[in-house]
Amino acid sequence: MRKRSDVARMLEERVLLLDGAYGTEFMKRGYEEVPELLNLKAPNVVYEVHRSYVESGADVILTNTFGATPMKLKKHGLDVDLERIVRSAVQMARKAADDRLVFGDLGPTGELPYPLGTATFDDYYENFKETARIMVEEGVDGIILETFSDLLELKAAVLAVRDVSKDVFLVAQMTFDEKGRSLTGTDPLTFAVTFEDLDVDALGINCSLGPDEMVPIFQELSQHTEKFLVVEPNAGRPIVVDGKTVYPLTPEMFSVHIDTFYESGVNVFGGCCGTTPEHIRLFRKVMGERRPLKRKRRKLFAVTSPSKIVRFDHFVVIGERINPSGRKKLWEKMLEKDEKVIVEEGKQQVERGAEVLDVNFGIESMVDTGYVKRVVQSLPYVVGVPLSLDVQDLRLAEEALRVYPGRPLFNSSKVEEKELEQKVGLLKRYGGVLVVLLMGKDVPKTFEERKEYLERALNILKTLGFEDRVIFDPGVLPLGADGRPLEVLKTVRHISEKGFLTTLGLSNLSFGLPNRTYLNSAFLVLALNEGLSSAIANPLDEILMNTLRSALVLLGRGELPRVEVKGDEIVEVIVSGNEEKLKKIVEDLLKEKDPLSVVEEVLRPAMERVGKMYDEGKIFLPQLILAAQTVKPIFDRLSDLLPKSETGEAFVIATVKGDVHDIGKNIVASVIRSNGYRVVDLGKDVDTSVIVETVEKEKPIALGLSAMMTTTVVRIREVVDELRRRNLTVPVIVGGASLNEKLAEELGADFYAKNASEAVRILKELKGGK
């Protein structure tokens, strides 16, 4: 067995090649039975196929054990032979491999997790542990978990392998459909974020899709993980020819895609269904000797369930209602091990805007551990959203974290060295994000005390290497018990300013008081203003939720998800490219307004909203272009409606180098022209030297520069510097979406104009001053 670190070192040096499919190769040789059985019945055939891949140039050979786990073999009555099958498989691969790597191959059980099926975390775990143990005893160089279509099953397999050996190289792979989802709803981002926490060496994707379809899914994965990356596409999607399943991609067609995977950061490349030794031979040639490209992980803070990822880039409501304190009925149901009631509580909250559900089991010593595990495993599948595991007892917490399908919140740890260390230990093992409560043995009352706790917590977390996986809760105490809300607010601000996320157990504040809703709502608004990033609250409280929504808008912090936005007719018309309809709208407007007002009051604000939609990813570049193409003739027409007289002094205008936005500049040019100036329009994307030379030649009353992007406004400074260098004192007026008064001044411009009319006013002043 090669050491984990040795395999990692090989991967840092070179992109390695895996082998191809086995099933089809066995069939070609006339063996139609369960492939794992061949390890006993015809080990020479297994050896032969391995050899054909070694000779084709594969660097890594997978053992013939995809289905060699107790649950899977049982279906063929072969479970009694598990041990012999796996040992023979590893030995054959080793014998064929020479000095190539041998990875033990493990596929999924084919059983869905409870409640979609009946399998529990423990079923999966025991199943994989058994095979992994034999593989490690036989000395594999790594273990690859392939073709998993469920997050929980894969997590169980990972933990099982790691419990067998800390020193075996481990690859975890999922399979996705063409929409980029696994069977139980996981997308590559959720996969990456969830498994980034776990102790695996490489993540990957295989099966289901051909290389072309797999590219975007692979790229999504590669952007969000620092682990090594493996990919094994199928040789296209299977088609049926003469009643036989055939994979259509020839080695040549397949290998065209290698560069794309390489450029996306692949470390191990191979083939899945339908690939043959011929494919691998060609891959070897095309891949050649390449050092893997370096990648950078996009950092994002999120929690996950199998089918949902919740990022903390907006305010997150954590539903508090699955908590039996003060709710006798719920408590009784929990004691009766009733799961339905929990699902109902969960669904209601999600419908009202909770994105994460806090789950608290009350007096934990009284509830059944099996029940807790079933709820924690099944709730995310049924309700869809991630959980915040609000569990105090360390042993129960471990059980819950272990069986949780995804990356949960873990609520919470106090700032005590031992407790933090233990809880961080659990999360490092099982994945998740920790809520750190800023209190220790005693409960702080003041900001200063909380601040001290924060410092202590950060110190401990730093030594544990865990600062980027925490959310801080300043700890809210009931008003009735000397709660001092202002101290909490100060703490929220302080934590936010330090760049950390925050949460609050909101309802604690009003505990035991009348009019709780109003107190909670008011406090939430105040905390939002201090930068609060999430709250554990009651989403069924309508006043609270509506207050929250309004406050977020007022604070410019974006909306909660699920809020419907009202239709914006003119923007819809523009974005869908309906020029006829836009013409009609503008014609109607012209009955009431002059052309310039239509531009400034209607069209330009509409285009600003279009820009914002683009910025927020609501529309895509082609839609932005179509929108521009649609409004441009309208703007041109409106310009034409302005009176023309071009006899006066010259005005030079241009859009700066690197910037192709010219709609606004054209409007400004037309308006200035209609005010009697002779406008020299140099167009868009204009070289600084051309601008300066024109100024020198035309001696204009002023120079107008348009720059629309943060990346192009700096060109203004370049033009100004060049003008000054040549002793040209012409006043410079600038405008455009990314500019403002202050920035314009910093860039050395003399004037900033928000729109065309302002530009005209400035020109008049200049003339008057002369």
Binding site: V215, E252, D259, V286, R291, F620, P622, I625, A628
Partner: protein
């Protein structure tokens, strides 16, 4: 020196690469309203594109962090990572021809920005994949050599000026020019690249 003229219909551009290139990277499918424009643009491109790929091999020597071949001496980060130590360097030039630029210009001149943008994007990928096709064929034909990562002038620290040299190398073979000062290639849908080859270890053959 070798030259292949490809039928543009034979150049397969992966669907998803195209999708991303045309600005639909974050959606699963190109929305139907845009699909017809894309198809139209593709058809037009097939009419006007005349893909040609040229290449030539040079024996190369590496010394003191520099690689030299054909009187050229290259160094820097990109060279160090992907070319240094190669015993052979292949220089590539691929172009789609003048007709494509004209067609793109035509659209922009008529205010059909979206068609212009789509045509431009598809053409950029087509010339890339034309080159990749030849690159892959070469790798297949040279079992005793291992090809590295293709690198192009203008990336990282490989100077764009090299375009001038490459164009000169293939002078008379194809109608490609370099704009003075900016080293932009005309026709615009033209790309250049270097590929280094290493001897394969005996055991790998």
């Amino acid at each position: 020196m070798s030259k292949v003229e490809l039928d543009p219909r034979e150049i397969e551009i992966p669907k998803n690469v195209l999708k991303a290139r045309l600005g639909f990277g974050r959606v699963r499918e190109i929305p139907p309203a845009f699909e017809k424009y894309v198809r139209e643009a593709y058809e037009e491109l097939l009419e006007v594109a005349t893909p040609v790929v040229l290449w030539e091999d040079f024996e190369a020597k590496s010394e003191g962090g520099k690689i030299s071949f054909d009187g050229l001496e290259l160094s820097g980060k990109l060279v160090e990572a992907h070319l240094l130590g190669s015993k052979l360097v292949t220089v590539f030039l691929a172009t789609l021809g003048e007709g494509v630029d004209e067609k793109i210009e035509e659209h922009f001149a008529r205010g059909e920005d979206l068609m212009g943008f789509f045509l431009d994007g598809i053409a950029s990928e087509m010339v890339e994949y034309a080159l990749r096709r030849v690159d892959a064929t070469l790798r297949i034909q040279r079992p005793h050599l291992l090809g590295g990562f293709k690198v192009s002038p203008g990336y990282v620290d490989l100077p764009l000026e090299l375009n001038e040299r490459i164009v000169k190398m293939f002078e008379g073979q194809v109608d490609v020019r370099v704009v003075q000062g900016s080293y932009v290639l005309v026709p615009r849908k033209t790309i250049t690249a270097f590929l280094g080859w290493r001897e394969r270890d005996a055991k790998e053959i």
